[in-house]
Structure formats: structure tokens, C-alpha cells
């Protein structure tokens, strides 16, 4: 379902349909943390021009996006009663564009995880096969779009938290350049890696959404002053002469023959359209270092970012003899052991005696990786690879802790986009064993347009525009 679906119906009907559908599939998917009563938002539409780009379009927000007066838990127990006192900048932008949020979508606790099994209100299930994981951390948002509840949903992406669940659920997952979309009001994971991203079923929608969401925000010093382009009307599927680099290190790790064949067939089609497709290879040691480097940096920042969750001013409070005890008890009970483990790892890397050889070293490696990738992007329009070497794993077989060394590069390469802040998009390319598969492309900073252009060509080839799954209640 894309943004233009159901536009002939009244806003009320359209929104009610989305809410009904979300409720109907909730038992199966568990994608929603809280449903939002849309009445006030629909009332507020009166003040908005009917030509607004998202007028009356239902949407879902990941539950780490602050909504004033509406429960926002980040799927963590410690925030399970947290009602924000302010709206995130993007919430205001979406409201001005006429969008109606109908649900806060489940996620891995505080964005930490890639399965969406680590959520306080329970696991989220894949829209195509509920015995499989949705992927995470923006699993709820991905699933709500993939199951046709809403035409778009907002997520966040620190390692691949939009782009991986997009791949597993057969929808488009877009993460623009770092600084393109304001992060003000987004409950963070790791500030230097966090991006706002989103899910759609059509490239045009992805381009349109960026026009709505992007732009300088004085409340986010890392947001860019760069002019927002008219991405949607600029879309041009003529990709002749575009230079595309296949990341060999990633593709070598793809073992599934059907996924390999699908990828190759797509590349052939792009060549047939006049694109120049070549193979490149990043230094293997740098690619091997992607995940460990990410783990150190993300968790170091996270341990500080979440030090505000102490039970003193908001959130869950567990009593204690002293103020210090209140903090200790609240944090012990408020976070899952999985999250606490990440805090310990983050703190460890920041200790004075470790900082040089762990945290600072990881920062240097990050820079080396970005320089390595930039060298390629200096000569190519995009780098491309399979978004995952597999279809979404069965829930029973997947845990965030268990990462096999063999799939280290293939399953973590999208971190490149977060390290360098490069714009990056996941686009579904077909099905294997009834489950969606996808490619991922990244481009130079602020060249989102080339992703939309090549993405449009891919969409024309796959004919998967607007595709979603019928989830039976």
C-alpha cells in the first residue's frame, strides 16, 4: 500500500481502516506498543491545507520518537510509564504535512538489537511468516508497513535498524545522510551513529517523505543547513552511465544460491539499462572490524546517553534507602540484562585505563573504514550489496548475542552507512521460500537523489511497488 492508496476515501474512513487493520493483526504481529486515538489529529487537520503532501495519511512512529502527551516507552521497562512533555521535531513536521499517527511501534529496547525480540512488551513477528523475526530494532514500524496497515512508518537506524527489518519484511527502508533529518526528540541509542529513517512501499513515497522530514533544526546542532531538494519530482529512472560498485566482500558471504541468483539477475538488468556495474573490494581487515568497532562506539555513547534514566525525574522508580539506592534499583529493574550488558561493555571501553586502546582505537578504525569507503564513492555513484545473506531467520534460531563469525561481514556491512553518515536504502528485490529478500545501496553524503533514481529503476524491474503481505487475523 503506498501513500496514494485510499486517497478517494474520507480521512476518517482511511484512518479507521488503518486502525482496524492494526488491531486485527496485533495478536499475530505484536507490532504496536500503544494505539493512538486519532480524533484530535483529525480535528487539527482543519487548519492544514488539503494539498499538504501527507494530508490524512495514516502512519506509525517507532516508540522512541517523542510524542507530547502520548506514551513513549522505547520498548524499555524503565520508560514504560513515560509520557513526553514535548514533540520530536519530526513529529511536528509530519503533523504540518497532514500525517496522522495511529500507533507507536515496537522496537528492540532503546534501539539495542537486531531481532525485535528484546522488547519489554514482547517480540514482534515477521509480516510474511510469524514464526520468523521481524528484524530490528525498528521491527514494529517495518511490520506495520509490510502488513499494509500504514503506507509509511518512521524508524531509526544506528547500525542497520531500518534497513535490515526492511529487508526481512519486503519493504523499502531509507536512511538519509547524517544531519539531513533532525534527531531532536528521538530517544537515542548512540548519537554519532543514530539516524532517522523510514519505511515505504514505493520509491516515490520515500522521496516525498524526505522532502517532509529533512531540513535544518536549530535544536539539533548536527543537522545540516543544506537546502532540501525536491526529490520526488526529480526522480529519473534513466540510469545509463551511472556507476555502481558491487561490494565483493559482502557478496562472497551470501551462500543462498537463490539470493545470489536474484542479485545477479538484478545487476544484469541494471547493466541492460546502461548502468556501469563493477566489482570492488574493501580491505578485508577493515570489513572484519566493522561490527566490533560499532559495538564499542555505540555502547560507549549509549551508556552515557541513558544515564538520564535513573528513576528520579521520570520513568519507572524503584524505591531505596537513599537517592543512590533509588537509582541503582530503578536501573537494575528497569533495563533488561541484555541492555545492561551493553552498558557494561560501553563503560569498560571508556575507563581511563582502557580508553586509548579500546574507545579511541575504535574511533580511529571508524575513520579508516570511512576513508576506505569514500575512496570508492569518489569513483562510483553507489555501492551495492545484498541487504542480508539470508531470509528472516526463524525466531527460535535467532538471538542477538549469537553472531557467527562467518556472516560477520555480510550481516553487518550496512553499518558503513552509519559510520560515514552515507545515505543508504534497502529495496526489496523478490522472494525466496516465500520470504522477501533485498539489496542495499549507499551513496555519497547528501546524494539521496541518486538512490531514489536507481531505486526507481530497480522498482520498475521488480514490479514490487506497493507490495505488502495479507496478514490473516
Amino acid at each position: 500500500m503506498d501513500i496514494k492508496t485510499n486517497t478517494l476515501e474520507s480521512v476518517e474512513t482511511r484512518i479507521q481502516k488503518a486502525i482496524d487493520k492494526a488491531h486485527a493483526s496485533q495478536d499475530k504481529l505484536n507490532a504496536v506498543v500503544s494505539f493512538i486515538d486519532p480524533c484530535e489529529q483529525i480535528e487539527n487537520l482543519k487548519a492544514i491545507d488539503k494539498s499538504a503532501p501527507l494530508y490524512g495519511v495514516p502512519m506509525a512512529l517507532k516508540d522512541n520518537i517523542n510524542t507530547k502527551g502520548i506514551l513513549t516507552t522505547a520498548s524499555s521497562r524503565i520508560l514504560d510509564n513515560y509520557v513526553p512533555v514535548y514533540d520530536a521535531t519530526i513529529v511536528k513536521k509530519l503533523q504540518q504535512a497532514g500525517a496522522i499517527s495511529i500507533a507507536k511501534a515496537s522496537m528492540d529496547e532503546l534501539g539495542m538489537g537486531g531481532t525485535n525480540k528484546n522488547a519489554y512488551r514482547g517480540e514482534v513477528h515477521n509480516a510474511w511468516d510469524t514464526s520468523r523475526i521481524s528484524g530490528g530494532s525498528s521491527g514494529g514500524s517495518a511490520v506495520l508497513v509490510a502488513s499494509g496497515v500504514v503506507p509509511f512508518a518512521i524508524g531509526t537506524d544506528t547500525g542497520d535498524s531500518v534497513r535490515k527489518p526492511a529487508a526481512f519484511n519486503g519493504v523499502i527502508g531509507m536512511k538519509p545522510t547524517y544531519g539531513r533529518i533532525s534527531r531532536y526528540g528521538i530517544i537515542p541509542y548512540a548519537s554519532s551513529l543514530d539516524h532517522v529513517g523510514y519505511f515505504t512501499t514505493a520509491i516515490e513515497d520515500a522521496a516525498l517523505l524526505l522532502e517532509v522530514l529533512a531540513g535544518r533544526d536549530d535544536q539539533d546542532m548536527t543537522s545540516s543547513y543544506r537546502k532540501v531538494e525536491t526529490y520526488a519530482s526529480n526522480i529519473n529512472a534513466d540510469i545509463s552511465g551511472k556507476k555502481i560498485a558491487i561490494i565483493d566482500n559482502v557478496q562472497e558471504g551470501v551462500e543462498d544460491s537463490e539470493i545470489k541468483a536474484n542479485f545477479q539477475a538484478l545487476m544484469d538488468k541494471l547493466v541492460a539499462r546502461g548502468a556501469i556495474v563493477e566489482h570492488i573490494r574493501f580491505q578485508d581487515n577493515l570489513m572484519q572490524a566493522l561490527f566490533p568497532t560499532y559495538y564499542i562506539l555505540a555502547n560507549a555513547e549509549a551508556t552515557a546517553n541513558h544515564s538520564n534514566l535513573d528513576g528520579i525525574r521520570f520513568g519507572m522508580r524503584e524505591d531505596g534507602e537513599s537517592v543512590e539506592d533509588v537509582m541503582i534499583h530503578s536501573r537494575t529493574k528497569g533495563f533488561s540484562s541484555y541492555v545492561r550488558k551493553r552498558f557494561v561493555a560501553g563503560s569498560y571501553s571508556l575507563f581511563v585505563e582502557n580508553q586509548e586502546k579500546v574507545f579511541r582505537k575504535a574511533q580511529k578504525v571508524r575513520r579508516l573504514i570511512v576513508e576506505e569507503v569514500q575512496k570508492t564513492l569518489d569513483n562510483y555513484d553507489v555501492i551495492i550489496a545484498s541487504a542480508s545473506g539470508n531470509i528472516a531467520p526463524l525466531s527460535e534460531n535467532s538471538a542477538d548475542e549469537a553472531l557467527s563469525n562467518e556472516s560477520m561481514v555480510t550481516e553487518n556491512h550496512m553499518i558503513i552507512g552509519n559510520f560515514g553518515g552515507f545515505p543508504s536504502i534497502t529495496i526489496p528485490t523478490g522472494f525466496v521460500k516465500g520470504m522477501p529478500i533485498a539489496i542495499n545501496m549507499s551513496a555519497n553524503a547528501f546524494d539521496e537523489q541518486v538512490l531514489f533514481n536507481i531505486g526507481k529503476a530497480i522498482e520498475e524491474e521488480t514490479k514490487l511497488k506497493g507490495n505488502d503481505s495479507e496478514v490473516k487475523a
Partner: protein, 474 residues
């Protein structure tokens, strides 16, 4: 034994900005608790810091005045620790790249001028204020996020008196620059002193204690003197000084243990990822430095060389920025600097004290005071009349109008005066007789009569001269 005292001082100063260091909430003092806060100050999830440009400007001024080397690339770091007065669980500070480093200031000591080196000066945010009671702890977040600079001296200070001079000097500097209110009693300037002793002639530093939260300048000296006495008594008895944080107890006049320091706390400093490094342009830095107000030392020097004021007068004026600014204004309109200084230091202060008005709210127009001084110098009014006029000036009135209204204008026209003198002499033949018989007092009587006849407006000097001349003629 003979000990040398070694003191280093850390000073936290609240910057005088309208809004907080990283949020747009207003800064405040004495407002109702938790009314000057927003989601950023409370450390709510998802909030991001935004650097206050005015705070950077003020910090830049302070660093320049302290003769620090300025780092034009502004960077911030996180200092991580859990405490209920620290909403985010970290403080944003400048650990790795302070805006200023390696400065110095000169203080006056009984042995002459002494240079105290400044190690560093950096920007950071203040914490919330806590009130502990049996019923629990109350937290006021109004102060949370207030911009601060921390100024760290090298251990160059050798006595409580020097420490006091250092703090006083720093206070005057920051006050002059308009950087801070520097009110120690209100906490807008806070002072922590590190004190250690070592045997005279040795180089190795002794174990130090930190005395915190001294709430007045005189307490800086008292606390240090008490701590030095305590430490030397310990050492004399062959005991060790234990590294600890202490506070000064005013009633006991001694320092009291707050907590022992067992190893350094690891604050896990790392760069603040939400604030990209900000490169200050050379032009902006220069603009700020060029617009910097004259500092107290320079001002005193100018008063002595240009206005020929004595040491005492210059000191009294410079000690108060508003008074000194007032004096400078007066001097723009009169050349009698000495008189301008006298009127300012003696009469203006006395009048303000009497009316219980702060110097900052001085109702006296400096131009009027200058005009009045000139009127006296030109003989338009007498010194005695000036005192009366001055009272009106202190109510904001124009001296020329006052003189006119009260008919005070001094009679300095010689022909007009001569008429008066002639008539007085004509009416007092006895006095002329007395004068001729050598009674000089008669002159005084005659002058008095002229004054009376002129309703006090006759210029006394001219009257004296005219009477003397006219008497000779008779």
C-alpha cells in the same frame, strides 16, 4: 618546623547570560523553584544540547583578560557520573580542549606585584541545587544548565592573604568585563582551594586537602589560615595529612572533614557527539577582544598618568566599576579631574548612602556634576552654593536651572558689584574709621554686609578685592 604553604585555586563562575549553556530556558536567581527549566535542563530523553553563543563570547572575554591562549576550535566533552543534581547523568564540559590555557594574572602582595599562573579556563554547565532534610531531598533545577567557566590556577599561591588577593583580583576582572555577577554569597562565584604544606627548601609537593564552597572572599583567607594551622600542627606532631575534601566551619573557625578521597574518580570523559566542533572565526574573536572594556589595572594606570590622581583616589574609583564609569563620564565634561574625583568619591557616595541608593542606580547625571564643577571654577557660584546645588543634582536636576530658580547666580560683574560696595561703604563710615585705625576685622564686616545686600550672590574674592581698593581711596 618551617613550612611553605602551596595553594592552588579552582573558581567556578556563572556567566551572565539570559539563557542557559545548552538550552533556551532563562537563567535565574531566586525565582520560584523549577520554573526556569525546560526538557533539556531536566535531561528528558531525546533532548539535545545547543551551545549558547553569548556564553562563548563571555568566556572568550574572560580568557583574554586572563591572558590565556585561546583555542578557536570549541569542543565539548561528557563527564560521566551519577548524582541526583545532574539530570543527564553527565555534565557537558571542556575536558580535552579548554577555550583558554596558560594565562596569568598579577596580584599585589606586601612584597610587591606577583604573577599567578592560570593553568586553564573552560566552559561547562552548572548542576541543580539540592536541599536535604529529614523528610527527603528537594531538587531545584533552575540552576541546572547555567553556563559556567572554571578557572584553575597553578599552585603558585603561598598564603591565605595571597589567595584572597587572587580571588579579589579575579572577581574584579570578571565583574569589569560584565562576564559574571561574581557574588560569592549567592553562589555565582564559587571557590575551591587546594592546600598543602612542604618543608621550606624542598620541591616535592605535600599531601593536599581541598576546602570547598567558601562563600565570601574573607572566608577564603580564614579557611586557608585555619587549614594551614591544622596541617602544620599535624606535621609537627609527626602525623600525616590525609587527602580529603573539607569545608570551612565559620563558627568553629576551623575546617571540617566532608569526605576522604580514595583514589581518583574515573569520569570516563569522551567527546560530546551531539556538538560538532565549532571553529570561531578570527574576525569574531578580534571583534570581541577589540570591544573589550578597559580592565581595572589599565584604568588605574590611566587615572594616575592622565588625570594625576593619587594612589588612594584611583584605587577607590577603580574598585567600583559603576562609580569609575561615572567618574569617567564626569571627566569628559570638565578638566578639573581632581575635583571631579573628590566630588565622586566623597559627596556622591555619601549622598547615595544617605538615600540608600545603589551606585548602579545613581540618579546623578555626570554631565550636570561636571557643569557644576565648572561653574565653581568659573566663579559663577561659590563653593558653599555648590553644596546646595549638588543636593538638587542628586535629585536629577540641571544645575543651571537650579541656580536660576534659586537666584543663586554669583554676582561677578565688577560694575554691579562696585555699586553695591560703594553703597555699603557709604552706609558704614564707622567701619571705614576702624579700618583706618588698623582694625582689619572691619573688612570682614564690610564683606559680610555686601554679601547680605547681594543675598549671598556676590563673588567673595571679587568683593574682598573691591573693598580693599575702595577703602584705600577713602
Amino acid at each position: 618546623m618551617n613550612y611553605e604553604t602551596v595553594i592552588g585555586i579552582e573558581i567556578h563562575c556563572e556567566l551572565k547570560t539570559k539563557t542557559k549553556m545548552f538550552s533556551s530556558a532563562p537563567t535565574s536567581f531566586g525565582e520560584v523553584a523549577n520554573t526556569c527549566v525546560n526538557e533539556i535542563d531536566l535531561g528528558h530523553p531525546g533532548t539535545l544540547p545547543c551551545v549558547n553563543k553569548e556564553a562563548v563570547r563571555l568566556a572568550l572575554l574572560a580568557a583574554t583578560a586572563l591572558k590565556c591562549e585561546i583555542d578557536p576550535l570549541i569542543k565539548f566533552d561528557r563527564k560521566n557520573y551519577y548524582y541526583s543534581d545532574l539530570p543527564k547523568g553527565f555534565q557537558i564540559t571542556q575536558q580535552f580542549h579548554p577555550i583558554g590555557s596558560g594565562g596569568n594574572i598579577s596580584i599585589d602582595t606586601p612584597n610587591g606585584k606577583k604573577n599567578i599562573r592560570i593553568n586553564r579556563m573552560h566552559m561547562e554547565e552548572d548542576t541543580a541545587k539540592q536541599f536535604h532534610s529529614d523528610a527527603g531531598t528537594l531538587i531545584d533545577f533552575n540552576r541546572a544548565g547555567t553556563p559556567l567557566v572554571e578557572i584553575v590556577s597553578e599552585p603558585d599561591i603561598r598564603s591565605g592573604a595571597e589567595a584572597m588577593a587572587y580571588v579579589e583580583k579575579l572577581r574584579a576582572l570578571l565583574y569589569y568585563l560584565g562576564v559574571s555577577d561574581v557574588k560569592m554569597e549567592e553562589g555565582s562565584m564559587r571557590c575551591d582551594v587546594n592546600v598543602s604544606l612542604r618543608e621550606v627548601g624542598t620541591q616535592k609537593l605535600g599531601t593536599k586537602t581541598e576546602v570547598k564552597n567558601l562563600n565570601s572572599i574573607s572566608n577564603v583567607q580564614k579557611a586557608i589560615d585555619a587549614e594551614v594551622a591544622r596541617q602544620s600542627a599535624l606535621l609537627d606532631q609527626g602525623e600525616r595529612v590525609i587527602q580529603a575534601t573539607r569545608r570551612y566551619d565559620e563558627t568553629q573557625k576551623t575546617t571540617v572533614l566532608m569526605r576522604k578521597k580514595e583514589g581518583d574518580v574515573d569520569y570516563k570523559f569522551f567527546p560530546e557527539p551531539n556538538i560538532p566542533p565549532i571553529l570561531l572565526s578570527d574576525a569574531w574573536i578580534k571583534e570581541i577582544q577589540d570591544g573589550m572594556e578597559e580592565l581595572p589595572d589599565e584604568r588605574k594606570e590611566r587615572y594616575q598618568s592622565q588625570f594625576a590622581l593619587n594612589d588612594y583616589d584611583a584605587d577607590v574609583l577603580v574598585a567600583n566599576r559603576e562609580l569609575s564609569n561615572f567618574f569617567d563620564e564626569v571627566c569628559l565634561h570638565t578638566k578639573n579631574y581632581k575635583k571631579a574625583a573628590n566630588w565622586t568619591i566623597v559627596e556622591v557616595i555619601a549622598a547615595l548612602n544617605k538615600a540608600n541608593i545603589k551606585i548602579a542606580d545613581n540618579p546623578c547625571n555626570p554631565v550636570y556634576l561636571a557643569v557644576m564643577i565648572n561653574m565653581v571654577d568659573n566663579g559663577e557660584i561659590s563653593g558653599k552654593q555648590a553644596k546646595e546645588v549638588f543636593e538638587e543634582i542628586m535629585l536629577g536636576k540641571d544645575p543651571q536651572k537650579v541656580v536660576e530658580e534659586k537666584g543663586m547666580k554669583q554676582m561677578s560683574d565688577s560694575s554691579e558689584l562696585l555699586t553695591l560696595v560703594t553703597s555699603v561703604l557709604d552706609n558704614n563710615p564707622q567701619s571705614i574709621e576702624d579700618f583706618k585705625n588698623g582694625k582689619d576685622r572691619a573688612v570682614g564686616f564690610l564683606v559680610g554686609q555686601v554679601m547680605k545686600a547681594s543675598k549671598g550672590q556676590a563673588n567673595p574674592a571679587m568683593t574682598n578685592k573691591l573693598i580693599a581698593e575702595e577703602l584705600k581711596k577713602r
